[in-house]
Symmetry: C2
């Protein structure tokens, strides 16, 4: 039984364009890191928040990581308390699953302190409780991939089923994060409460084609079905230059390009040799709209969150 543990949880692309609220994949290039330390004093405390984001609540009740660990500690009958140090690697409100990664890293780290560690499904539910603080509702499409790793489908909310979907070898994800912040709540607010039956059919065809293409390694089918006709058109108005960025990515041979989670980060899937050209074209398109951007090229594969240290 450890007295302290450090866990890393990767950033994630939620929705992956055609899987609104159900699909997500890891971004190994970025993540949050949480150190958990056992204390005699009961309760969960956050002692430090460092890294690219620091203006987050230190009150554990109002912090995704704190709330998630409170939920875990209660569920597993943990003795004493936990102190958490959070090192943010994921920019705030970027659409890269930062609040989910903090919650996931925190429960994975704290779990290592327990005499009877919880299983992954329990960790998932505790992290969901945590993320509820940030998003105002229960979502798993960032948490599942950050915890399990790779491209992850989540079926159901109360008792979610997790399925890791294989990604064809040689596929990469280009991520471009323009320097503006979008609140998830605001991005959800623009969504219509209804989908037309014809868009429903179109989107389900694309989703089924995308999943089939992933399993069968059929890049042509992935390209032909990698189009969100429901959510993207409603949210793209929040991201200046999005249509041009998307067009630039597709013109350079991307398999698909859409909004990462609630945005403003835009992602594109592509074959590895095209990644750098696509990245450059997307960054240039944002630049033409006066937006600086950070960008990454990442693989789309496990692992998810993991303990990083070997200390006891």
């Amino acid at each position: 039984m450890r007295d302290s543990a450090v866990a890393f949880a990767p950033a994630t692309v939620a929705n992956v364009g055609i899987g609104f609220d159900i699909l997500g994949h890891t971004v190994q290039a970025l993540g949050d890191r949480v150190t958990a330390r056992r204390t005699d004093k009961p309760g969960v405390r956050i002692t430090a928040i460092t890294g690219v984001v620091t203006r987050l609540p230190l009150d554990a009740q109002r912090n995704t990581a704190g709330k998630a660990v409170m939920s875990l500690w209660e569920a597993q009958g943990g003795q004493g308390g936990v102190e958490l140090q959070i090192e943010k690697g994921i920019p705030l409100s970027s659409g890269l699953g930062g609040s989910a990664a903090s919650a996931v890293a925190a429960v994975v780290a704290a779990n290592a302190l327990l005499p009877n560690p919880a299983d992954k499904m329990t960790l998932l539910k505790c992290a969901m409780h945590g993320e509820q603080v940030a998003s105002g509702s229960v979502h798993v499409d960032n948490i599942s991939p950050s915890l399990f790793g790779g491209l992850v489908l989540t079926v159901g909310v109360d008792n979610p089923r997790i399925k890791q979907v294989p990604v064809p070898g040689g596929v990469r994800c280009v991520l471009v994060h323009p320097h503006l912040e979008l609140e998830t709540r605001a991005a959800r607010g623009v969504l219509s409460a209804n989908v037309t039956l014809s868009d429903f059919v179109w989107q389900t065809a694309n989703l089924a084609g995308f999943i089939s293409g992933c399993y069968s390694g059929d890049l042509d089918l992935i390209r032909d079905s990698f189009e969100d006709v429901v959510i993207e058109r409603q949210r793209q108005t929040l991201i200046p230059g999005f249509p041009e960025v998307r067009t630039a990515a597709m013109a350079h041979g991307a398999l698909g390009c859409s909004i990462s989670g609630a945005g403003p980060t835009v992602f594109a899937w592509c074959e590895a040799p095209r990644a750098e050209a696509i990245r450059g074209a997307m960054v240039a398109a944002f630049s033409a709209h006066g937006l600086d951007a950070d960008s990454w090229v990442t693989m789309i594969e496990p692992p998810g969150a993991r303990i990083e240290d070997g200390t006891a």
Copy 2:
């Protein structure tokens, strides 16, 4: 180059519960058979309609098989004309894709008479023209599986992409056709023009889970995601006893149970050893509502439509 050819096209379960307008699978137990004969006289004529349905238009323009072959003959520059004999094995308005099977069998038979036979995608489009006569709109979810065979996903309508999705070994389909007729137009008429965003998310999760379960041979995931939360609840009122039939199938261990196409046939997927018990329970449930029913147990696999004779 033949002077005559006989083709068989299997019946099909469209929608397969969670894939409205995009999924369908073959039912090898039933099908339509079309004999095509070359004639010197130009044009397409229907000389006979026999079998379980005879009250169909003999006017080729108003007959799915006739219209489909007219479309094929024109596209491929066929010389002379074609006479068609249609032997119906699929009950009328049963929800088993009878009009699609006639169109598919007809184009496959007529294609064998052409000096330059068309490829399958051309046959698909010609059969779609044919089926438009029967349904009033263009749909491919019966035609694609009847032509290609097995469980088939169709992405897109104008230039559809066809994907054969593997079905785990040992899975069977139980079909129960109660003796009432439902017009496809009427069954489409009950559908709301909109889907709520929450039902959209639920249904897409189920669809993605179902497809993933098929590719990975995960029967538990298929069972957990084999639920149509959008279409079934709107259409089930047209089928007396449907809730009880579905409950009976699930109580006997079905993986899923829903309406075949526009109904009234109800289908259930199951592991082979459970098929006969499920069939009996479903038939009994319809009987309790005063409905006699025909029933079948079928494999879900290729082939699709094929030439049956060896004559020249």
